[in-house]
Protein backbone atom coordinates (compact mmCIF):
# COMPACT_ATOMS: atom_id res chain seq x y z
CA UNK A 1 0.00 0.00 0.00
CA UNK A 2 1.27 3.43 -0.86
CA UNK A 3 1.26 6.19 1.70
CA UNK A 4 0.89 8.83 -1.00
CA UNK A 5 -2.53 10.34 -1.45
CA UNK A 6 -4.21 9.79 -4.83
CA UNK A 7 -3.99 13.53 -5.47
CA UNK A 8 -0.26 13.51 -4.71
CA UNK A 9 0.23 10.67 -7.20
CA UNK A 10 -1.70 12.50 -9.91
CA UNK A 11 0.19 15.75 -9.40
CA UNK A 12 3.43 13.77 -9.59
CA UNK A 13 5.49 16.51 -8.10
CA UNK A 14 8.22 14.25 -6.75
CA UNK A 15 10.20 14.51 -3.52
CA UNK A 16 11.71 17.88 -4.40
CA UNK A 17 8.26 19.36 -5.06
CA UNK A 18 9.61 20.58 -8.36
CA UNK A 19 7.46 18.43 -10.58
CA UNK A 20 7.80 19.00 -14.29
CA UNK A 21 9.44 22.45 -14.05
CA UNK A 22 12.78 21.15 -15.39
CA UNK A 23 11.09 19.41 -18.31
CA UNK A 24 9.13 22.54 -19.23
CA UNK A 25 12.14 24.82 -18.88
CA UNK A 26 14.15 22.66 -21.26
CA UNK A 27 11.38 22.63 -23.89
CA UNK A 28 10.58 26.33 -23.61
CA UNK A 29 14.23 27.34 -23.88
CA UNK A 30 14.51 25.02 -26.90
CA UNK A 31 11.52 26.75 -28.53
CA UNK A 32 13.03 30.19 -27.84
CA UNK A 33 16.35 29.08 -29.34
CA UNK A 34 14.75 28.09 -32.67
CA UNK A 35 14.26 31.68 -33.93
CA UNK A 36 17.10 33.20 -31.86
CA UNK A 37 19.88 30.91 -33.11
CA UNK A 38 18.69 31.10 -36.73
CA UNK A 39 18.65 34.91 -36.51
CA UNK A 40 22.16 34.86 -34.99
CA UNK A 41 23.55 32.54 -37.65
CA UNK A 42 22.12 34.69 -40.46
CA UNK A 43 23.69 37.76 -38.81
CA UNK A 44 27.07 36.00 -38.53
CA UNK A 45 26.99 35.14 -42.23
CA UNK A 46 26.29 38.77 -43.16
CA UNK A 47 28.75 40.44 -40.76
CA UNK A 48 32.39 41.18 -41.64
CA UNK A 49 33.57 39.31 -38.56
CA UNK A 50 37.17 40.56 -38.50
CA UNK A 51 36.05 44.21 -38.54
CA UNK A 52 35.84 45.28 -34.87
CA UNK A 53 33.95 48.51 -35.59
CA UNK A 54 31.36 46.78 -37.77
CA UNK A 55 30.76 44.02 -35.23
CA UNK A 56 30.39 46.34 -32.22
CA UNK A 57 28.17 48.77 -34.13
CA UNK A 58 25.95 45.86 -35.15
CA UNK A 59 25.71 44.65 -31.53
CA UNK A 60 24.74 48.11 -30.28
CA UNK A 61 22.27 48.98 -33.02
CA UNK A 62 18.51 48.65 -32.79
CA UNK A 63 17.06 45.57 -31.15
CA UNK A 64 20.17 43.45 -31.69
CA UNK A 65 21.33 43.85 -28.08
CA UNK A 66 17.95 42.66 -26.79
CA UNK A 67 17.99 39.56 -29.00
CA UNK A 68 21.62 38.85 -28.12
CA UNK A 69 20.97 39.03 -24.36
CA UNK A 70 17.94 36.75 -24.79
CA UNK A 71 19.99 34.40 -26.99
CA UNK A 72 22.77 34.16 -24.42
CA UNK A 73 20.31 33.68 -21.56
CA UNK A 74 18.34 30.97 -23.36
CA UNK A 75 21.54 29.25 -24.54
CA UNK A 76 23.06 29.08 -21.06
CA UNK A 77 19.77 28.06 -19.46
CA UNK A 78 19.15 25.29 -22.00
CA UNK A 79 22.78 24.16 -21.83
CA UNK A 80 22.79 24.04 -18.03
CA UNK A 81 19.58 21.98 -17.94
CA UNK A 82 20.87 19.59 -20.62
CA UNK A 83 24.29 19.00 -19.07
CA UNK A 84 22.56 18.54 -15.70
CA UNK A 85 20.51 15.64 -17.08
CA UNK A 86 23.63 14.06 -18.60
CA UNK A 87 25.44 14.28 -15.24
CA UNK A 88 22.44 12.84 -13.38
CA UNK A 89 22.30 9.93 -15.81
CA UNK A 90 25.97 8.97 -15.96
CA UNK A 91 27.66 10.11 -12.72
CA UNK A 92 26.64 7.75 -9.94
CA UNK A 93 29.00 8.41 -6.99
CA UNK A 94 26.97 10.82 -4.77
CA UNK A 95 29.82 13.20 -3.87
CA UNK A 96 31.14 13.39 -7.43
CA UNK A 97 27.62 13.87 -8.77
CA UNK A 98 26.93 16.76 -6.41
CA UNK A 99 30.27 18.36 -7.26
CA UNK A 100 29.64 18.00 -10.99
CA UNK A 101 26.13 19.47 -10.70
CA UNK A 102 27.39 22.46 -8.71
CA UNK A 103 30.25 23.02 -11.13
CA UNK A 104 27.81 22.84 -14.05
CA UNK A 105 25.54 25.49 -12.54
CA UNK A 106 28.46 27.74 -11.56
CA UNK A 107 30.14 27.51 -14.96
CA UNK A 108 26.95 28.43 -16.81
CA UNK A 109 26.27 31.30 -14.39
CA UNK A 110 29.75 32.70 -15.07
CA UNK A 111 29.30 32.30 -18.83
CA UNK A 112 25.97 34.13 -18.96
CA UNK A 113 27.18 36.90 -16.63
CA UNK A 114 30.42 37.43 -18.59
CA UNK A 115 28.58 37.40 -21.92
CA UNK A 116 25.87 39.86 -20.86
CA UNK A 117 28.50 42.13 -19.27
CA UNK A 118 30.48 42.15 -22.53
CA UNK A 119 27.36 42.94 -24.55
CA UNK A 120 26.36 45.81 -22.26
CA UNK A 121 29.89 47.21 -22.31
CA UNK A 122 29.85 47.24 -26.11
CA UNK A 123 26.39 48.81 -26.27
CA UNK A 124 27.01 51.48 -23.63
CA UNK A 125 30.34 52.52 -25.09
CA UNK A 126 28.43 53.97 -28.04
CA UNK A 127 26.41 56.23 -25.73
CA UNK A 128 29.29 57.87 -23.85
Amino acid sequence: MSLRSPLGVVLGRGSAGEGVAHWWAQRLSALALVPLTVWFLVALVRLPLTDHAAVTIWIASGWNLVWLVLLLGALCWHSRLGVQVVIEDYVHAPALKLAALLLNSAAHAVLVAAGVYALLRIALKGLS
Binding site: V45, G82, A114, I122
Partner: protein, 130 residues
Protein backbone atom coordinates in the same frame (compact mmCIF):
# COMPACT_ATOMS: atom_id res chain seq x y z
CA UNK B 1 25.78 -0.35 -5.54
CA UNK B 2 27.67 -3.58 -6.23
CA UNK B 3 26.60 -6.87 -7.79
CA UNK B 4 22.93 -6.11 -7.79
CA UNK B 5 20.89 -7.77 -10.51
CA UNK B 6 20.25 -5.27 -13.31
CA UNK B 7 17.32 -5.02 -15.67
CA UNK B 8 18.10 -5.64 -19.37
CA UNK B 9 20.49 -2.94 -20.49
CA UNK B 10 22.07 -1.53 -23.65
CA UNK B 11 24.06 -4.62 -24.55
CA UNK B 12 21.03 -6.86 -24.79
CA UNK B 13 19.20 -4.92 -27.50
CA UNK B 14 19.79 -5.26 -31.23
CA UNK B 15 21.49 -2.11 -32.46
CA UNK B 16 19.26 0.33 -34.33
CA UNK B 17 20.42 3.54 -35.94
CA UNK B 18 17.79 5.42 -33.94
CA UNK B 19 19.86 4.54 -30.85
CA UNK B 20 22.89 6.23 -32.40
CA UNK B 21 20.76 9.27 -33.27
CA UNK B 22 19.55 9.45 -29.67
CA UNK B 23 23.02 9.42 -28.11
CA UNK B 24 24.27 11.81 -30.81
CA UNK B 25 21.74 14.37 -29.55
CA UNK B 26 23.42 14.26 -26.14
CA UNK B 27 26.96 14.24 -27.51
CA UNK B 28 26.28 17.27 -29.72
CA UNK B 29 24.57 19.04 -26.80
CA UNK B 30 27.51 18.58 -24.43
CA UNK B 31 29.93 19.52 -27.19
CA UNK B 32 28.04 22.78 -27.78
CA UNK B 33 28.08 23.52 -24.05
CA UNK B 34 31.87 23.73 -24.44
CA UNK B 35 31.30 25.95 -27.47
CA UNK B 36 29.61 28.51 -25.20
CA UNK B 37 33.10 29.32 -23.90
CA UNK B 38 34.21 30.27 -27.42
CA UNK B 39 31.09 32.40 -27.94
CA UNK B 40 31.61 34.28 -24.67
CA UNK B 41 35.33 34.66 -25.44
CA UNK B 42 34.41 36.25 -28.77
CA UNK B 43 32.03 38.71 -27.04
CA UNK B 44 34.40 39.65 -24.20
CA UNK B 45 37.25 40.24 -26.63
CA UNK B 46 34.99 42.51 -28.70
CA UNK B 47 34.17 44.43 -25.52
CA UNK B 48 37.84 44.68 -24.55
CA UNK B 49 38.69 46.78 -27.60
CA UNK B 50 40.12 46.67 -31.08
CA UNK B 51 43.52 45.19 -30.20
CA UNK B 52 42.13 42.36 -28.10
CA UNK B 53 39.53 41.66 -30.79
CA UNK B 54 42.20 41.42 -33.49
CA UNK B 55 44.03 38.86 -31.35
CA UNK B 56 40.79 36.90 -30.81
CA UNK B 57 39.84 36.81 -34.50
CA UNK B 58 43.36 35.69 -35.39
CA UNK B 59 43.04 32.89 -32.84
CA UNK B 60 39.49 31.94 -33.94
CA UNK B 61 40.57 32.08 -37.58
CA UNK B 62 43.46 29.66 -37.12
CA UNK B 63 43.28 26.25 -38.74
CA UNK B 64 42.78 24.37 -35.44
CA UNK B 65 40.06 26.78 -34.29
CA UNK B 66 38.31 26.51 -37.66
CA UNK B 67 38.03 22.76 -37.22
CA UNK B 68 36.47 23.30 -33.79
CA UNK B 69 34.10 25.95 -35.19
CA UNK B 70 33.06 23.61 -38.00
CA UNK B 71 32.44 20.82 -35.48
CA UNK B 72 30.31 23.18 -33.37
CA UNK B 73 28.37 24.22 -36.46
CA UNK B 74 27.79 20.58 -37.39
CA UNK B 75 26.69 19.82 -33.83
CA UNK B 76 24.30 22.77 -33.92
CA UNK B 77 22.75 21.69 -37.22
CA UNK B 78 22.09 18.17 -35.98
CA UNK B 79 20.95 19.20 -32.48
CA UNK B 80 18.59 21.79 -34.03
CA UNK B 81 16.90 19.42 -36.46
CA UNK B 82 16.77 16.50 -34.05
CA UNK B 83 15.55 18.90 -31.36
CA UNK B 84 12.54 19.72 -33.55
CA UNK B 85 11.96 15.97 -33.73
CA UNK B 86 12.02 15.82 -29.94
CA UNK B 87 9.57 18.72 -29.67
CA UNK B 88 7.22 16.90 -32.06
CA UNK B 89 7.45 13.78 -29.88
CA UNK B 90 6.70 15.89 -26.80
CA UNK B 91 3.56 17.08 -28.56
CA UNK B 92 2.63 13.41 -29.11
CA UNK B 93 3.44 13.39 -32.85
CA UNK B 94 5.46 10.79 -34.74
CA UNK B 95 6.01 8.41 -31.85
CA UNK B 96 5.22 5.24 -33.82
CA UNK B 97 8.22 3.11 -34.68
CA UNK B 98 7.93 3.59 -38.45
CA UNK B 99 7.45 7.37 -38.18
CA UNK B 100 10.34 7.71 -35.73
CA UNK B 101 12.69 5.81 -38.04
CA UNK B 102 11.69 7.83 -41.11
CA UNK B 103 11.99 11.15 -39.25
CA UNK B 104 15.43 10.04 -38.05
CA UNK B 105 16.68 9.61 -41.61
CA UNK B 106 15.11 12.94 -42.58
CA UNK B 107 16.80 14.66 -39.63
CA UNK B 108 20.25 13.41 -40.62
CA UNK B 109 19.78 14.42 -44.26
CA UNK B 110 18.42 17.85 -43.36
CA UNK B 111 21.16 18.48 -40.79
CA UNK B 112 23.82 17.53 -43.34
CA UNK B 113 22.36 19.90 -45.93
CA UNK B 114 22.07 22.73 -43.40
CA UNK B 115 25.65 22.13 -42.26
CA UNK B 116 27.09 22.17 -45.77
CA UNK B 117 25.13 25.31 -46.66
CA UNK B 118 26.01 27.32 -43.57
CA UNK B 119 29.62 26.11 -43.55
CA UNK B 120 29.99 27.30 -47.12
CA UNK B 121 28.38 30.69 -46.40
CA UNK B 122 30.39 31.24 -43.22
CA UNK B 123 33.82 30.07 -44.30
CA UNK B 124 34.20 30.15 -48.07
CA UNK B 125 33.51 33.61 -49.50
CA UNK B 126 35.28 35.31 -46.61
CA UNK B 127 38.56 36.91 -47.61
CA UNK B 128 39.01 38.34 -44.12
CA UNK B 129 39.17 34.88 -42.59
CA UNK B 130 41.95 33.48 -44.68
Amino acid sequence: MHNRPLSPHLTIYRFMYTMALSILHRVTGVWMALGLCALVYWLTSAAAGELEYARATALLGSAAARILLLLWLAAYCYHFVNGLRHLAWDAGLGLERRAARISGRFAVALALLAFLGTAYLLFCPRAGWS
